[in-house]
Protein backbone atom coordinates (compact mmCIF):
# COMPACT_ATOMS: atom_id res chain seq x y z
CA UNK A 1 0.00 0.00 0.00
CA UNK A 2 1.21 3.51 -0.77
CA UNK A 3 2.47 5.64 2.08
CA UNK A 4 -0.21 8.09 3.20
CA UNK A 5 -0.47 11.82 3.07
CA UNK A 6 -0.34 12.78 6.73
CA UNK A 7 -2.00 15.93 7.99
CA UNK A 8 -0.77 17.14 11.37
CA UNK A 9 -3.49 19.30 12.91
CA UNK A 10 -7.26 18.85 12.82
CA UNK A 11 -8.44 22.43 12.84
CA UNK A 12 -10.19 24.24 10.02
CA UNK A 13 -7.16 23.95 7.71
CA UNK A 14 -6.60 20.25 8.29
CA UNK A 15 -10.26 19.52 7.68
CA UNK A 16 -10.36 21.58 4.49
CA UNK A 17 -7.20 19.89 3.22
CA UNK A 18 -8.46 16.36 3.68
CA UNK A 19 -11.76 17.16 2.00
CA UNK A 20 -10.11 18.89 -0.93
CA UNK A 21 -7.67 16.02 -1.50
CA UNK A 22 -10.60 13.63 -1.87
CA UNK A 23 -12.54 16.05 -4.08
CA UNK A 24 -9.49 16.34 -6.34
CA UNK A 25 -9.40 12.58 -6.70
CA UNK A 26 -6.57 11.64 -4.38
CA UNK A 27 -7.39 8.04 -3.45
CA UNK A 28 -4.34 6.80 -1.54
CA UNK A 29 -4.35 6.63 2.27
CA UNK A 30 -4.93 9.81 4.22
CA UNK A 31 -4.23 10.21 7.92
CA UNK A 32 -5.12 13.16 10.15
CA UNK A 33 -3.49 13.58 13.55
CA UNK A 34 -4.91 16.03 16.07
CA UNK A 35 -4.23 16.89 19.68
CA UNK A 36 -7.80 17.79 20.53
CA UNK A 37 -9.94 14.79 21.43
CA UNK A 38 -12.78 15.81 19.09
CA UNK A 39 -13.36 15.86 15.33
CA UNK A 40 -12.62 19.09 13.44
CA UNK A 41 -15.07 21.83 14.33
CA UNK A 42 -15.72 25.47 13.59
CA UNK A 43 -14.20 27.78 16.16
CA UNK A 44 -15.91 31.12 15.40
CA UNK A 45 -19.33 30.17 16.82
CA UNK A 46 -17.79 28.85 20.05
CA UNK A 47 -17.80 32.10 21.96
CA UNK A 48 -21.21 33.07 20.61
CA UNK A 49 -23.90 30.56 19.66
CA UNK A 50 -22.18 27.62 21.35
CA UNK A 51 -21.44 29.40 24.65
CA UNK A 52 -25.02 30.63 24.78
CA UNK A 53 -26.37 27.09 24.31
CA UNK A 54 -28.05 27.93 21.02
CA UNK A 55 -25.87 25.45 19.10
CA UNK A 56 -24.88 22.02 20.37
CA UNK A 57 -21.33 20.88 19.71
CA UNK A 58 -22.42 18.37 17.05
CA UNK A 59 -23.61 21.29 14.94
CA UNK A 60 -20.15 22.84 14.97
CA UNK A 61 -18.54 19.82 13.35
CA UNK A 62 -17.04 20.70 9.98
CA UNK A 63 -17.95 17.24 8.64
CA UNK A 64 -20.39 14.77 10.16
CA UNK A 65 -18.72 11.90 12.06
CA UNK A 66 -19.58 9.36 9.35
CA UNK A 67 -17.80 11.38 6.67
CA UNK A 68 -14.31 10.28 7.68
CA UNK A 69 -14.98 6.56 7.28
CA UNK A 70 -16.93 7.19 4.08
CA UNK A 71 -14.02 9.10 2.63
CA UNK A 72 -11.46 6.68 4.05
CA UNK A 73 -9.77 9.32 6.13
CA UNK A 74 -8.09 7.85 9.20
CA UNK A 75 -8.37 10.27 12.10
CA UNK A 76 -6.18 9.97 15.16
CA UNK A 77 -7.56 12.24 17.84
CA UNK A 78 -6.01 13.16 21.16
CA UNK A 79 -2.68 12.28 19.62
CA UNK A 80 0.30 14.50 19.37
CA UNK A 81 3.32 14.30 17.14
CA UNK A 82 6.47 14.16 19.20
CA UNK A 83 8.90 14.48 16.34
CA UNK A 84 9.18 14.71 12.61
CA UNK A 85 12.05 13.33 10.55
CA UNK A 86 12.12 14.85 7.06
CA UNK A 87 15.02 12.62 5.93
CA UNK A 88 13.25 9.43 6.91
CA UNK A 89 9.83 10.83 5.99
CA UNK A 90 8.41 9.69 9.32
CA UNK A 91 6.52 11.15 12.24
CA UNK A 92 6.70 9.73 15.73
CA UNK A 93 3.65 10.04 17.93
CA UNK A 94 3.57 10.47 21.69
CA UNK A 95 2.53 6.85 22.11
CA UNK A 96 5.73 5.78 20.38
CA UNK A 97 4.20 4.72 17.09
CA UNK A 98 6.02 5.74 13.94
CA UNK A 99 4.25 6.55 10.68
CA UNK A 100 5.86 6.96 7.30
CA UNK A 101 4.43 9.53 4.89
CA UNK A 102 4.57 10.20 1.19
CA UNK A 103 3.74 13.86 1.78
CA UNK A 104 3.00 15.73 4.96
CA UNK A 105 1.03 18.88 5.77
CA UNK A 106 1.51 20.93 8.91
CA UNK A 107 -1.81 22.54 9.79
CA UNK A 108 -0.94 22.91 13.44
CA UNK A 109 -2.70 26.24 13.89
CA UNK A 110 -1.93 28.58 16.72
CA UNK A 111 -2.56 29.03 20.40
CA UNK A 112 -3.48 32.06 22.49
CA UNK A 113 -0.63 34.09 23.83
CA UNK A 114 -0.73 33.88 27.62
CA UNK A 115 0.13 36.52 30.15
CA UNK A 116 3.60 36.01 31.56
CA UNK A 117 3.45 34.26 34.95
CA UNK A 118 4.60 37.39 36.80
CA UNK A 119 1.50 39.18 35.48
CA UNK A 120 -1.00 36.35 35.72
CA UNK A 121 0.26 34.94 39.02
CA UNK A 122 -0.97 31.54 37.74
CA UNK A 123 -4.37 32.34 39.19
CA UNK A 124 -7.54 30.39 38.58
CA UNK A 125 -10.40 32.10 36.79
CA UNK A 126 -8.17 33.37 34.00
CA UNK A 127 -9.17 32.08 30.58
CA UNK A 128 -8.41 32.17 26.90
CA UNK A 129 -10.96 31.40 24.19
CA UNK A 130 -9.84 29.15 21.40
CA UNK A 131 -10.96 25.57 21.91
CA UNK A 132 -14.26 24.01 22.82
CA UNK A 133 -12.66 23.02 26.13
CA UNK A 134 -11.84 26.69 26.81
CA UNK A 135 -15.40 27.74 26.17
CA UNK A 136 -16.85 24.85 28.17
CA UNK A 137 -14.84 26.12 31.13
CA UNK A 138 -16.01 29.73 30.77
CA UNK A 139 -19.65 29.30 29.78
CA UNK A 140 -20.98 28.39 33.26
CA UNK A 141 -19.33 31.51 34.68
CA UNK A 142 -21.08 33.89 32.31
CA UNK A 143 -23.87 34.83 34.68
CA UNK A 144 -25.48 38.23 35.19
CA UNK A 145 -23.79 40.54 37.62
CA UNK A 146 -20.36 38.88 37.52
CA UNK A 147 -17.46 41.17 36.77
CA UNK A 148 -15.35 40.23 33.77
CA UNK A 149 -11.97 41.66 33.03
CA UNK A 150 -10.89 41.40 29.41
CA UNK A 151 -7.17 41.81 28.83
CA UNK A 152 -6.62 43.04 25.29
CA UNK A 153 -8.82 45.14 23.01
CA UNK A 154 -8.39 43.22 19.77
CA UNK A 155 -11.15 41.33 17.99
CA UNK A 156 -10.97 38.32 20.32
CA UNK A 157 -11.24 40.52 23.41
CA UNK A 158 -14.02 42.64 21.94
CA UNK A 159 -16.05 39.58 20.95
CA UNK A 160 -15.68 38.10 24.43
CA UNK A 161 -16.74 41.44 25.92
CA UNK A 162 -19.80 41.58 23.68
CA UNK A 163 -20.94 38.07 24.60
CA UNK A 164 -20.47 38.72 28.31
CA UNK A 165 -22.11 42.14 28.29
CA UNK A 166 -25.09 40.71 26.41
CA UNK A 167 -25.44 38.13 29.17
CA UNK A 168 -25.49 40.78 31.86
CA UNK A 169 -21.93 40.73 33.13
CA UNK A 170 -20.13 43.91 34.08
CA UNK A 171 -17.26 44.09 31.64
CA UNK A 172 -14.04 46.08 31.67
CA UNK A 173 -11.57 45.93 28.80
CA UNK A 174 -7.95 46.81 29.52
CA UNK A 175 -5.92 47.76 26.46
CA UNK A 176 -2.22 48.54 26.63
CA UNK A 177 -2.10 50.57 23.42
CA UNK A 178 -3.58 54.04 23.15
CA UNK A 179 -6.67 52.62 21.49
CA UNK A 180 -8.48 49.34 20.90
CA UNK A 181 -7.87 47.52 17.59
CA UNK A 182 -4.62 49.41 17.20
CA UNK A 183 -2.76 46.62 15.43
CA UNK A 184 -5.56 45.67 13.06
CA UNK A 185 -7.75 48.64 12.19
CA UNK A 186 -7.90 52.38 11.63
CA UNK A 187 -8.93 54.71 14.41
CA UNK A 188 -12.29 55.27 12.70
CA UNK A 189 -13.09 51.57 13.09
CA UNK A 190 -11.88 51.65 16.69
CA UNK A 191 -14.10 54.68 17.36
CA UNK A 192 -17.10 52.82 15.98
CA UNK A 193 -16.54 49.79 18.21
CA UNK A 194 -15.64 51.83 21.28
CA UNK A 195 -18.95 53.65 20.98
CA UNK A 196 -20.80 50.38 20.38
CA UNK A 197 -19.35 48.75 23.49
CA UNK A 198 -19.96 51.81 25.63
CA UNK A 199 -23.60 51.81 24.55
CA UNK A 200 -23.74 48.29 25.92
CA UNK A 201 -22.27 49.33 29.24
CA UNK A 202 -18.74 48.06 28.73
CA UNK A 203 -15.92 50.06 30.29
CA UNK A 204 -12.93 50.45 27.98
CA UNK A 205 -9.60 51.52 29.44
CA UNK A 206 -7.05 52.44 26.78
CA UNK A 207 -3.37 53.24 27.38
CA UNK A 208 -3.86 51.03 30.41
CA UNK A 209 -0.88 48.86 31.28
CA UNK A 210 -1.54 45.82 33.40
CA UNK A 211 0.85 45.58 36.31
CA UNK A 212 -0.52 42.22 37.45
CA UNK A 213 -3.64 40.27 38.17
CA UNK A 214 -4.54 40.17 41.83
CA UNK A 215 -5.76 36.99 43.50
CA UNK A 216 -7.67 35.75 46.44
CA UNK A 217 -7.12 32.13 47.48
CA UNK A 218 -5.60 31.36 44.13
CA UNK A 219 -8.56 32.79 42.21
CA UNK A 220 -8.41 36.02 40.25
CA UNK A 221 -10.06 38.86 42.15
CA UNK A 222 -8.97 41.86 40.15
CA UNK A 223 -6.09 43.67 38.57
CA UNK A 224 -3.56 46.32 39.40
CA UNK A 225 -2.66 48.75 36.64
CA UNK A 226 0.73 50.36 36.31
CA UNK A 227 -0.77 53.82 36.88
CA UNK A 228 -1.94 52.71 40.32
CA UNK A 229 -5.59 52.05 39.49
CA UNK A 230 -7.10 48.81 40.73
CA UNK A 231 -9.98 46.86 39.22
CA UNK A 232 -12.16 44.17 40.78
CA UNK A 233 -13.12 41.08 38.85
CA UNK A 234 -14.63 37.62 39.23
CA UNK A 235 -12.98 36.25 36.12
CA UNK A 236 -10.63 37.35 33.36
CA UNK A 237 -10.32 36.56 29.67
CA UNK A 238 -6.98 37.14 28.01
CA UNK A 239 -7.01 38.09 24.31
CA UNK A 240 -3.55 39.39 23.56
CA UNK A 241 -2.82 37.64 20.31
CA UNK A 242 -1.88 34.20 19.16
CA UNK A 243 1.34 32.28 18.67
CA UNK A 244 1.79 30.00 15.66
CA UNK A 245 2.38 26.37 16.54
CA UNK A 246 5.67 26.04 14.71
CA UNK A 247 7.73 24.17 17.32
CA UNK A 248 7.43 20.74 15.70
CA UNK A 249 8.69 22.21 12.43
CA UNK A 250 11.49 24.04 14.22
CA UNK A 251 12.64 20.88 15.99
CA UNK A 252 12.62 19.06 12.66
CA UNK A 253 15.00 21.65 11.23
CA UNK A 254 12.51 23.43 8.96
CA UNK A 255 12.95 27.16 8.42
CA UNK A 256 10.70 28.94 10.92
CA UNK A 257 10.29 32.61 11.78
CA UNK A 258 7.09 33.43 13.67
CA UNK A 259 5.42 30.73 11.60
CA UNK A 260 6.58 27.99 9.29
CA UNK A 261 8.10 29.55 6.20
CA UNK A 262 6.57 28.35 2.94
CA UNK A 263 6.91 29.35 -0.70
CA UNK A 264 4.12 30.30 -3.11
CA UNK A 265 3.18 26.65 -3.49
CA UNK A 266 2.96 26.39 0.31
CA UNK A 267 6.04 24.13 0.47
CA UNK A 268 8.24 24.33 3.55
CA UNK A 269 12.02 24.16 3.40
CA UNK A 270 11.89 20.35 3.68
CA UNK A 271 10.95 18.07 0.78
CA UNK A 272 7.33 16.90 0.57
CA UNK A 273 6.30 18.94 3.62
CA UNK A 274 3.72 21.70 3.24
CA UNK A 275 2.08 24.06 5.70
CA UNK A 276 -1.19 26.01 5.76
CA UNK A 277 -3.33 28.16 8.03
CA UNK A 278 -2.42 30.15 11.14
CA UNK A 279 0.94 28.37 11.46
CA UNK A 280 2.22 29.19 7.96
CA UNK A 281 4.10 32.27 6.77
CA UNK A 282 3.96 32.78 3.01
CA UNK A 283 5.04 35.37 0.45
CA UNK A 284 2.12 37.64 -0.45
CA UNK A 285 2.45 40.71 -2.65
CA UNK A 286 6.17 40.76 -1.93
CA UNK A 287 5.90 40.63 1.86
CA UNK A 288 6.26 37.66 4.21
CA UNK A 289 2.75 37.22 5.59
CA UNK A 290 0.93 35.18 8.17
CA UNK A 291 -2.86 35.39 8.28
CA UNK A 292 -5.03 34.40 11.22
CA UNK A 293 -8.41 33.68 9.73
CA UNK A 294 -10.88 31.03 8.68
CA UNK A 295 -10.64 32.22 5.08
CA UNK A 296 -6.90 31.66 5.03
CA UNK A 297 -7.11 28.32 6.80
CA UNK A 298 -9.51 27.01 4.17
CA UNK A 299 -8.09 28.63 1.04
CA UNK A 300 -4.47 27.91 1.83
CA UNK A 301 -5.25 24.32 2.80
CA UNK A 302 -7.09 23.84 -0.47
CA UNK A 303 -4.10 25.30 -2.23
CA UNK A 304 -1.86 22.76 -0.50
CA UNK A 305 -4.16 19.95 -1.65
CA UNK A 306 -3.82 21.07 -5.25
CA UNK A 307 -0.06 21.64 -4.92
CA UNK A 308 0.44 18.17 -3.44
CA UNK A 309 -1.26 16.77 -6.53
CA UNK A 310 0.89 18.77 -8.91
CA UNK A 311 -0.69 22.22 -9.35
CA UNK A 312 1.89 24.93 -10.00
CA UNK A 313 0.15 28.23 -9.18
CA UNK A 314 1.15 30.45 -6.28
CA UNK A 315 -1.21 31.05 -3.40
CA UNK A 316 -2.52 34.60 -3.88
CA UNK A 317 -5.62 35.15 -1.74
CA UNK A 318 -7.86 38.15 -1.27
CA UNK A 319 -8.06 37.93 2.51
CA UNK A 320 -11.38 38.41 4.26
CA UNK A 321 -12.44 38.33 7.86
CA UNK A 322 -15.49 38.88 9.97
CA UNK A 323 -16.37 39.63 13.56
CA UNK A 324 -19.80 39.60 15.21
CA UNK A 325 -20.39 41.91 18.16
CA UNK A 326 -23.89 42.58 19.51
CA UNK A 327 -26.09 43.47 16.54
CA UNK A 328 -23.13 44.52 14.43
CA UNK A 329 -21.54 42.40 11.77
CA UNK A 330 -18.08 43.57 10.80
CA UNK A 331 -16.84 42.29 7.47
CA UNK A 332 -13.34 43.02 6.26
CA UNK A 333 -12.15 42.59 2.70
CA UNK A 334 -8.44 42.79 1.96
CA UNK A 335 -5.55 43.52 4.28
CA UNK A 336 -4.91 47.09 5.44
CA UNK A 337 -1.20 46.53 6.11
CA UNK A 338 0.81 49.64 5.26
CA UNK A 339 -2.17 51.87 4.53
CA UNK A 340 -1.45 55.55 4.02
CA UNK A 341 -4.94 56.94 4.42
CA UNK A 342 -8.52 55.90 4.82
CA UNK A 343 -11.98 57.24 4.11
CA UNK A 344 -15.11 56.81 6.23
CA UNK A 345 -18.42 56.35 4.42
CA UNK A 346 -21.69 56.36 6.28
CA UNK A 347 -24.12 53.72 5.07
CA UNK A 348 -27.81 54.02 4.38
CA UNK A 349 -28.93 51.75 7.18
CA UNK A 350 -28.78 53.03 10.74
CA UNK A 351 -25.41 52.21 12.22
CA UNK A 352 -23.90 51.09 8.96
CA UNK A 353 -20.52 52.45 7.96
CA UNK A 354 -17.44 51.50 6.02
CA UNK A 355 -13.78 52.43 6.17
CA UNK A 356 -11.87 52.34 2.87
CA UNK A 357 -8.11 51.86 3.23
CA UNK A 358 -5.68 53.09 0.58
CA UNK A 359 -1.98 52.71 0.05
CA UNK A 360 -1.25 55.69 -2.18
CA UNK A 361 -4.02 55.55 -4.78
CA UNK A 362 -4.60 51.82 -4.48
CA UNK A 363 -7.55 50.48 -2.51
CA UNK A 364 -6.21 47.71 -0.25
CA UNK A 365 -8.97 46.94 2.26
CA UNK A 366 -12.41 47.84 3.56
CA UNK A 367 -13.92 47.43 7.03
CA UNK A 368 -17.70 47.30 6.65
CA UNK A 369 -20.01 47.50 9.65
CA UNK A 370 -23.54 46.26 8.96
CA UNK A 371 -22.86 47.15 5.37
CA UNK A 372 -22.56 43.97 3.34
CA UNK A 373 -22.92 45.90 0.10
CA UNK A 374 -19.73 47.91 0.67
CA UNK A 375 -17.95 44.74 1.74
CA UNK A 376 -19.14 42.92 -1.36
CA UNK A 377 -18.17 45.68 -3.73
CA UNK A 378 -14.75 46.04 -2.14
CA UNK A 379 -14.20 42.31 -2.37
CA UNK A 380 -15.09 42.33 -6.05
CA UNK A 381 -12.75 45.25 -6.74
CA UNK A 382 -9.87 43.62 -4.86
CA UNK A 383 -10.40 40.26 -6.54
CA UNK A 384 -10.24 41.99 -9.90
CA UNK A 385 -7.07 43.82 -8.85
CA UNK A 386 -8.84 47.15 -9.31
CA UNK A 387 -9.08 50.32 -7.29
CA UNK A 388 -11.66 53.08 -7.05
CA UNK A 389 -10.88 56.81 -6.93
CA UNK A 390 -10.83 58.25 -3.43
CA UNK A 391 -12.96 61.17 -4.54
CA UNK A 392 -15.79 58.82 -5.51
CA UNK A 393 -15.60 56.99 -2.17
CA UNK A 394 -15.44 60.23 -0.21
CA UNK A 395 -18.49 61.71 -1.96
CA UNK A 396 -21.60 60.78 0.06
CA UNK A 397 -23.61 61.33 -3.12
CA UNK A 398 -21.95 58.36 -4.82
CA UNK A 399 -24.24 55.33 -4.72
CA UNK A 400 -22.32 52.42 -3.19
CA UNK A 401 -23.14 50.19 -6.18
CA UNK A 402 -21.68 52.81 -8.51
CA UNK A 403 -18.26 52.39 -6.85
CA UNK A 404 -17.85 49.18 -8.80
CA UNK A 405 -17.60 51.14 -12.02
CA UNK A 406 -16.36 54.50 -10.75
Amino acid sequence: MADPIIIVGTGQAGAALSAKLRVLGYSDPLVMIGEEPVLPYQRPPLSKKYASGELQFERLLIRPPGWYAEQQVEVRLGASVASLDPMDRTVKLDDGSVLRYAKLALTTGSRPRLLPAELSGNLGGVFTTRTVADVDAIAPLLVPGKRLLVIGGGYIGLEAAAVAATRGLKVTIVELADRILQRVAASATADYFRALHRRHGVTILESAALDRLVGDNGQVAGAALKDGRTLEADLAIVGIGIIPNDELARRAGLVVDDGIIVDGLCRTSAPEIYAAGDCARFPWRGVSTRLESVQNAIDQAEHVAAAMLGAQSDYDPVPWFWSDQYEVKLQIAGLNRGYTDCILRTGKREGSASIWYYRGDALIAVDAMNDALSYGIAKKLLEAGRTVPKAAVADPGTETRALLSA
Binding site: P44, P64, V294, Q331, L373
Partner: protein, 105 residues
Amino acid sequence: MPKITWILHDGRSISAEVAVGHNLMEAAVANSVPEVIGECGGCLSCATCHVYVDPAWYEKTGGPGDMESEMLEITSAERRSVSRLSCQIKASEELDGLVLHVPHI
Protein backbone atom coordinates in the same frame (compact mmCIF):
# COMPACT_ATOMS: atom_id res chain seq x y z
CA MET B 1 -38.75 15.84 9.88
CA PRO B 2 -39.06 17.89 6.70
CA LYS B 3 -37.46 16.39 3.63
CA ILE B 4 -35.20 18.65 1.60
CA THR B 5 -33.86 17.89 -1.88
CA TRP B 6 -30.80 19.45 -3.47
CA ILE B 7 -30.50 19.17 -7.24
CA LEU B 8 -26.94 19.48 -8.48
CA HIS B 9 -25.88 21.16 -11.71
CA ASP B 10 -25.34 17.78 -13.36
CA GLY B 11 -28.86 16.65 -12.57
CA ARG B 12 -28.01 14.38 -9.66
CA SER B 13 -30.02 14.94 -6.53
CA ILE B 14 -29.51 14.43 -2.81
CA SER B 15 -32.40 14.23 -0.38
CA ALA B 16 -32.31 14.27 3.38
CA GLU B 17 -34.53 14.73 6.37
CA VAL B 18 -33.50 17.82 8.26
CA ALA B 19 -34.30 18.61 11.87
CA VAL B 20 -36.67 21.55 12.29
CA GLY B 21 -34.70 24.69 13.10
CA HIS B 22 -31.48 23.59 11.43
CA ASN B 23 -30.44 25.85 8.61
CA LEU B 24 -30.13 24.45 5.12
CA MET B 25 -26.45 25.28 4.73
CA GLU B 26 -25.49 23.09 7.66
CA ALA B 27 -27.91 20.44 6.42
CA ALA B 28 -26.20 20.51 3.00
CA VAL B 29 -22.74 20.20 4.54
CA ALA B 30 -23.89 17.39 6.83
CA ASN B 31 -25.19 15.53 3.80
CA SER B 32 -22.09 16.19 1.71
CA VAL B 33 -23.90 18.26 -0.91
CA PRO B 34 -21.09 19.44 -3.16
CA GLU B 35 -20.61 23.15 -3.85
CA VAL B 36 -22.48 24.31 -0.77
CA ILE B 37 -19.49 25.34 1.29
CA GLY B 38 -20.60 27.51 4.19
CA GLU B 39 -17.15 28.90 4.87
CA CYS B 40 -18.30 31.37 7.53
CA GLY B 41 -20.41 28.83 9.38
CA GLY B 42 -23.69 30.51 8.57
CA CYS B 43 -23.12 33.99 9.88
CA LEU B 44 -23.82 35.77 6.61
CA SER B 45 -20.26 36.66 5.74
CA CYS B 46 -19.21 34.56 2.80
CA ALA B 47 -22.04 33.82 0.34
CA THR B 48 -20.67 30.32 -0.33
CA CYS B 49 -23.97 28.60 0.47
CA HIS B 50 -25.83 30.19 -2.44
CA VAL B 51 -28.78 28.20 -3.82
CA TYR B 52 -31.65 28.76 -6.22
CA VAL B 53 -34.95 27.96 -4.55
CA ASP B 54 -37.17 25.98 -6.89
CA PRO B 55 -39.65 28.58 -8.21
CA ALA B 56 -42.56 26.46 -6.98
CA TRP B 57 -41.24 26.89 -3.43
CA TYR B 58 -40.08 30.48 -3.46
CA GLU B 59 -43.29 31.80 -2.01
CA LYS B 60 -42.91 29.49 0.98
CA THR B 61 -39.25 30.24 1.68
CA GLY B 62 -39.74 33.94 1.09
CA GLY B 63 -37.08 36.30 -0.18
CA PRO B 64 -33.78 37.39 1.36
CA GLY B 65 -33.41 39.88 4.18
CA ASP B 66 -31.52 43.16 3.67
CA MET B 67 -28.01 41.99 4.58
CA GLU B 68 -28.55 38.69 2.82
CA SER B 69 -29.67 40.50 -0.29
CA GLU B 70 -26.48 42.57 -0.22
CA MET B 71 -24.36 39.44 0.19
CA LEU B 72 -26.10 37.90 -2.81
CA GLU B 73 -24.36 40.53 -4.91
CA ILE B 74 -21.04 38.71 -4.48
CA THR B 75 -22.00 35.11 -5.13
CA SER B 76 -19.76 33.16 -7.51
CA ALA B 77 -22.68 32.03 -9.65
CA GLU B 78 -25.10 34.57 -11.13
CA ARG B 79 -27.81 35.93 -8.90
CA ARG B 80 -31.34 35.06 -9.96
CA SER B 81 -34.75 36.12 -8.72
CA VAL B 82 -34.91 32.92 -6.63
CA SER B 83 -31.41 33.22 -5.15
CA ARG B 84 -31.01 32.72 -1.40
CA LEU B 85 -28.18 32.01 1.00
CA SER B 86 -29.17 28.65 2.39
CA CYS B 87 -27.74 29.42 5.84
CA GLN B 88 -30.62 31.87 6.19
CA ILE B 89 -33.37 29.31 5.49
CA LYS B 90 -34.38 27.18 8.45
CA ALA B 91 -35.98 23.78 8.06
CA SER B 92 -39.65 23.77 9.07
CA GLU B 93 -42.68 21.55 8.52
CA GLU B 94 -43.98 24.07 5.97
CA LEU B 95 -40.87 23.43 3.90
CA ASP B 96 -41.33 19.64 3.82
CA GLY B 97 -40.54 18.67 0.22
CA LEU B 98 -38.52 21.80 -0.55
CA VAL B 99 -36.33 21.62 -3.64
CA LEU B 100 -33.11 23.66 -3.91
CA HIS B 101 -30.94 23.92 -7.01
CA VAL B 102 -27.21 24.14 -6.35
CA PRO B 103 -25.33 26.44 -8.73
CA HIS B 104 -22.10 25.25 -10.28
CA ILE B 105 -19.08 27.21 -9.05
